[in-house]
Symmetry: none
Subunit: 205 residues, 4 copies
Amino acid sequence: MQLKKRQLAIVEAALRLTASGGLGNLTVKKLAGELGVTEPALYRHFLNKSEIVKAMIGSFESVSDEVFVRIESEGVRGLSAVELFVKNRFQIVLKKPALSKVMFSEEQFIDEPEYSSLLLGMMHRHKENLCRMLREAQADGTVRSDIRLEMMFRLIFGPVRLLIKQWGMSQQGFDLLKTGDEMWEDLRKILSSGKERVGDEKTDH
Amino acid sequence: MQLKKRQLAIVEAALRLTASGGLGNLTVKKLAGELGVTEPALYRHFLNKSEIVKAMIGSFESVSDEVFVRIESEGVRGLSAVELFVKNRFQIVLKKPALSKVMFSEEQFIDEPEYSSLLLGMMHRHKENLCRMLREAQADGTVRSDIRLEMMFRLIFGPVRLLIKQWGMSQQGFDLLKTGDEMWEDLRKILSSGKERVGDEKTDH
Amino acid sequence: MQLKKRQLAIVEAALRLTASGGLGNLTVKKLAGELGVTEPALYRHFLNKSEIVKAMIGSFESVSDEVFVRIESEGVRGLSAVELFVKNRFQIVLKKPALSKVMFSEEQFIDEPEYSSLLLGMMHRHKENLCRMLREAQADGTVRSDIRLEMMFRLIFGPVRLLIKQWGMSQQGFDLLKTGDEMWEDLRKILSSGKERVGDEKTDH
Amino acid sequence: MQLKKRQLAIVEAALRLTASGGLGNLTVKKLAGELGVTEPALYRHFLNKSEIVKAMIGSFESVSDEVFVRIESEGVRGLSAVELFVKNRFQIVLKKPALSKVMFSEEQFIDEPEYSSLLLGMMHRHKENLCRMLREAQADGTVRSDIRLEMMFRLIFGPVRLLIKQWGMSQQGFDLLKTGDEMWEDLRKILSSGKERVGDEKTDH
DNA sequence: GATGAATGAGAATTCATTCAT
DNA sequence: TATGAATGAATTCTCATTCAT
């Protein structure tokens, strides 16, 4: 169900509030204030606060999915697809900091069963997508084969998440895109198959 | 400031509540109920709720520090020290799940400036310790030198955190210790210096 | 003031809502929902909610009056008229359960002065009509004369109301028409003048 | 569970509010105002508003039961027991008008499933008690045997209820005790067994 | 070391109603 | 004849905290 114009404005305001102060800062009153209306007005557009939060999560999902669509349509495969996905993470965070701050703190939602299933589903889909790409990369020999796919997913996504969190906690204190690129280079080093890597090292000397 | 007996009991109850339902589940009323006393009773032992939360954080810090003390006293160094630290993380999580669930969700605290500085300091100390160990490991040649220390910290700690989070979100659905050991093996593979690794690969064939 | 078609539909929806959940279930929002329109639409047809409630009461009155018109036009008198009235009560309840459930719970309205006078007037007219019939019945000897009219009204109408209430509270758990007929037989027994009754008893032996 | 002193005061205030304006007049705010405290204070004594309402119902039940205890302990039986019960109804109403006004309007509660079962249970117990007494009265010949017990219950209790309701709706406009006594005399007339009644009628002529 | 009673602030939500279109 | 957007007032309830005992 597509969000209407007014609903979109509400979700955006909700994201702003949540980004600056966590879910605890997202109250109907503040949300109404942010939009310059009274509280009951919101209930014309959403059944209740939960629906607003769910819409926030949904909005993150659709932004996230864009990159998969692009990867699909452009026919990118293997390690290049992983690279696209990883770098896209950082771009999303930069383009929609509110959205990102909210979504990379699943813990806030995880205790509310109403939200957690939504989130778990989304995370699972991401993992499936990434694992598929990694399988291709192992098959074509660009990625080492001595690490299981699921673990490899953690080796990639764990650092990505940590970097984003550090960026958020440092009050955007460094260039996320640049450090993200560096991280990708290092990820490629540690994940690439042996032959490639030996070659890489040679040029280092 | 050492916690007295009664304070300890309160902090433990607080950890239990926070573990099952997030910080939002930690209310003075529930805390009192958990302990079988009335709310005002708690104010005999802590100035206010904030102090209780801070004591929670502090209790995590002291548990965390134990491993550093051990590493120091036993004279462990380099990659072995990192290994001890990483595996200790998983052991802590298993031994004190409440504590862990709470502490590996910094986001919950990060929006309250009162808590976030405490946490940031703690995280910074951990990073410093780890980086020191990694520097030693690079120096003695057990760990590759083509990755900067800070990034290497992320490459190690990111996956560790993600694994712990997955374990929590999966309702303890897998053997954390076993998967943790596997993760460490893979971490060693990707971090070890070239020569070693080439050797590893030979044995694989 | 005759209700127009749209007004009638609104009153009927209002009756349905009130029947299933009491006056507390009658909100403008639900009423609009029941009719598939938005709330402001209702204000095209009624000045405010009060007018809708009053129309509900009025609609009960007109249904109630039908039996008096019939009694009048058919020239029925005395105990037979009372019988017609009483049995008509049960028929109304069956035919328009919503209407009945609402109207036999005057308490719901009685605390709102705006409605209570309407209701009191209606109840008073019913009592007057019934007392007139009973007077005729006492005059022609079919009904005992040792009980004052007003009290006799209570002795008849009290049980009738209680039966209807029991039927409603039992979720329509019994055959109201049949039990109503039985009640009328018993009412006739206790109200009939002595001679008749002695005769009745003889046949019992 | 016996009510504590403070709880009793709250229930009494709640009864006052409900008596003057129906359940709709019973809001936590008004209740707090009536007691001269703030709203949250009430939640120290009752879990929620529902519990207060239930306590109201319970308080009516205990007052109601007193008469049964008395009847039992004094060994009253048959029609005399019924008389005691009926007249006690009127006395209760006079002594605790708030309580009565509330309780003789079950409709207000009947739509809330939470309350209705409580009420239905109570009404059922009253009916059982009355029917037992009436059975004794039929057995000893003081009450006519040509009417089934359940119907006889309605013939007695229906008028009693209606009288109480009329008294309430008339703003206590008549002497309930006196009219109640008259009603009982008439009830006795219509319910007494034939022989008695023939005698009564003789004196009428 | 604890309780009973209370509070001010604020939470989410529902209500009947209005107004411009 | 209706809608979309909004509102003021009210609702029940929870929060951390205080204070006298």
